[in-house]
Symmetry: C2
Subunit: 559 residues, 2 copies
Amino acid sequence: MIQSLMQEVPLTLNLVRERVVRLYRDKRVATRYAKAIETATYGQIVERSGRLAAALHDLGIRPGDRVATLAWNSQRHLELYLAVPCMGAVLHTVNARLPADGIAALLAHAGDSVLFVDRSLMAALRGLNLPPGLRQIVVMNDRVADDDRTDSELELPLLGYDDLLAGANANFDWPELDERMPSGICYTSGTTGAPKGVVYSHRSTTLHTLACLFADGIAMRERDVCMPVVPMFHANAWGFPYAAFMAGASLALPCRQTDPESLAALIQASGVTMATAVPTVWLDFLQALRSGVIARDRIATLRRIPMGGAAVGEPLIAGFADFGIEVTHCWGMTEISPLGLVNVRKSALGEAAAADARSTQGLPIPCCDLRTVAATGEEVPHDGATPGELQIRSPWAADAYFDGDQPGNRSQEAAALEAFAVDGRGRRWLRTGDIATIDGHGYVRIVDRAKDLIKSGGEWISSQALEAGILEHPDVREAAVVGKPDPRWQERPVAFIALEEKGRIRNVKAVIAEVRHHLSSHFAKWQLPDEFVVVSALPKGNTGKVDKSALRKGRHANE
Amino acid sequence: MIQSLMQEVPLTLNLVRERVVRLYRDKRVATRYAKAIETATYGQIVERSGRLAAALHDLGIRPGDRVATLAWNSQRHLELYLAVPCMGAVLHTVNARLPADGIAALLAHAGDSVLFVDRSLMAALRGLNLPPGLRQIVVMNDRVADDDRTDSELELPLLGYDDLLAGANANFDWPELDERMPSGICYTSGTTGAPKGVVYSHRSTTLHTLACLFADGIAMRERDVCMPVVPMFHANAWGFPYAAFMAGASLALPCRQTDPESLAALIQASGVTMATAVPTVWLDFLQALRSGVIARDRIATLRRIPMGGAAVGEPLIAGFADFGIEVTHCWGMTEISPLGLVNVRKSALGEAAAADARSTQGLPIPCCDLRTVAATGEEVPHDGATPGELQIRSPWAADAYFDGDQPGNRSQEAAALEAFAVDGRGRRWLRTGDIATIDGHGYVRIVDRAKDLIKSGGEWISSQALEAGILEHPDVREAAVVGKPDPRWQERPVAFIALEEKGRIRNVKAVIAEVRHHLSSHFAKWQLPDEFVVVSALPKGNTGKVDKSALRKGRHANE
């Protein structure tokens, strides 16, 4: 047996950091703080990251230690994205929308040693039982005034971020890392139970970043100015910060200002070409565009919106197309770093097939294999009709959940073990919990969360298929269908809908009748919702997704 | 220390093969044989690859064994590209332009067990001392007639390729491979000495393939129809076959028909959008376009030419731009799989800077780090002026040359060891032997092969800089400058030039005077060539590159 003779170059984020130094020092990051837009060059950010790493080293941070952030999308958060993994430590991005006790629980579970927190989020920490291992809090955004260096309620010394950098050595000696070292921790949003930790590696994150630059995918380029609106604590802002570094694209970070006017101001000021956020953000934005609240010429540079986080309806795609902006449907999850599918048009598709395909979640990006599996464990055919559970195999997919700072640290809980499957060849697959069909071209259509299927009379009803049908009505703004317990059928579907303004003005009853009529041409009678409840807005969870459990419990605002 | 918890999915070409099966079965490969164009779908090719792997297994081929090809660019060669590495064996693509004894030497050095040979190349094998380890020859292109199953001169049984497939099991069980297993062997062309073997791994080839799809690089897409004219025995046809599989692009393979009319016919028949070959092929093609021998509308689909293998002159770039075809200057070498640099325009460049940058070899693709190093071993500044030896560090760069089928198989020869360097951090770099400058934006300009620098009076003269200057004259078609031994100055530059037809008609002496005048405004007097020799064409080596050693020995055809 002969040996291959190629260089052993580990796939680590230091390749990305060094690339920025060599090629992209002049590219820019703009952050829209509450009062002003601040900009810095990548050269400055890399230099500051070096100081940050040196300061963290002085605070005792060593390879493998966890450093937490509780922060919105900002330049300083970006500096932590570079410094912490590249020095061998692990970046734990805590969801700032969690309740305060949830935050404390995650800091303890991850075993964080240092916490970086936005000044605007400090209030959430007061009165909490912070874990004993947390030995330092660093406050971001502003310099801390001298009389504010301790916080009696927190009983921890406070440092100001810029003070920390000002005192640090500028010549940090970045270590050589192994590609399988952990680089980051992100917890799932916990909409389906307690948050579960995913531990990324340098290898997984570097490969995922390279895949984000795939020409038939996100295709980020040096000429792009990229605005990730999705939070940097949510699955690494869908990988966009690292992708921007590798591609040399400039970044525009909206901090927490995600209303249409704030986003338009940032797009205009920075020349944003590509932006990403969940559909609810874009629904508001599109309405502001249509109503003229935001003039199209203010956002003339915006060309592409890779959109995910929830199903993207055809009206949203068509609505942006009217303004010359291409919406690309994407799909992923925290467990897969998060990108798995991107909807690009295959060259063989005719117009009708292409129109049908573009509302699917898309095609797998390279090195991301997937299959759909029946309850029997058998793969189902790729016929565009047979649903099965979507399972993923990829170098950037999770193999286990995190059991906290234990030796081995793989969660052995029954719930966690059920999230992974093994095929006949002994290969491991992530069970996504999504029910999908795959058509002959490879387009994946998520038809439901496994737990969101409505079981009626021994049959399944797809809540997502009903929602998609309801959303085809031009006066419907949002829709969610949930199962209501039923003594005879076990469950029966109930639809909750929020209307566009003109729908409310016109005649709510007429709109519902039209929706019902439209559905009846696509669904069997027994599949149709028993009730239509009109609400002012659907309740959202802390990641902006519709909170179906709230709907099931009747927690919604009727119109 | 916590562990990362991501899936262990090895980076092997089976990921590429499985992707083709899942997504791209309907894409097509067209091969232009001497008499006709044959087409097949990717689905058929993968199915035939499975049969091929089963047949090779029946012939005794096991993981690590070497399987050689002596073949032009064809569908069957492509099937070998899939079958051999994906079954764990090692594909040795032998340069069909080598002299016959050179071929035999490489078959012996690599320890090949089976050889696949194009029928048109069989003649080269007769009368050779084939190595004893070679136990089977398979003839490609045609079915072997019954009376042709042995070849008395070869004393080896012959098999026909399609007979081999017809008798093979269709359900080959592809093995799970380790990503560091060898996948292929390619020998350098040996223009600078004996051919040196490079042993690629599944990891290096898979990562290189992913990098070929980089949006700011080759950016191959599913909608593309890609025509690699560069031979599949030459650095994996620059990685285009595997890239086409991963991207789902269709392929058009010209076999050995690389004259303008043959290429135009294939472009027209297959709708080629992207093609790649060395500049000499494109010089002929451009002339045929200009003269109207090839009508532009026959090749209307052709949009992009990633071009490399030799410096690409500005007139060639501008010439194709006149026809709406974008030439992208690329750079690589067998030792780096082979892609390292792609010339894309950075957004910050003004028109003048962009014009200057586009004749450079370009910017490094992701995960390909580079530096320029002085004779002292120190890195030189990236100022666009200070030359240094270009060195590469990448997961797809060679770490050693191949010592044949020995344990360890790393060549320990002094010449081979000098091809690699170690930096102060213990990291290994490939020494390219090219002298380059890097400017502040990161653009790399190869100014010379180290061995092509002309040493005159203790100073260096860059032959490539002189060649680039000479090529700026519109009547000059090709140029090469070599050092002529000189008793006083050690060496003095001599320029060999081939003229465009209109230059020959006009007045050869006037053209030379104009060239000399032009050079004198950019070079010191002592740097100017002592002589200008007009030739009908420059001599080429077996990869189409200018053979400077032939020029030094006076082997050229004067006009």
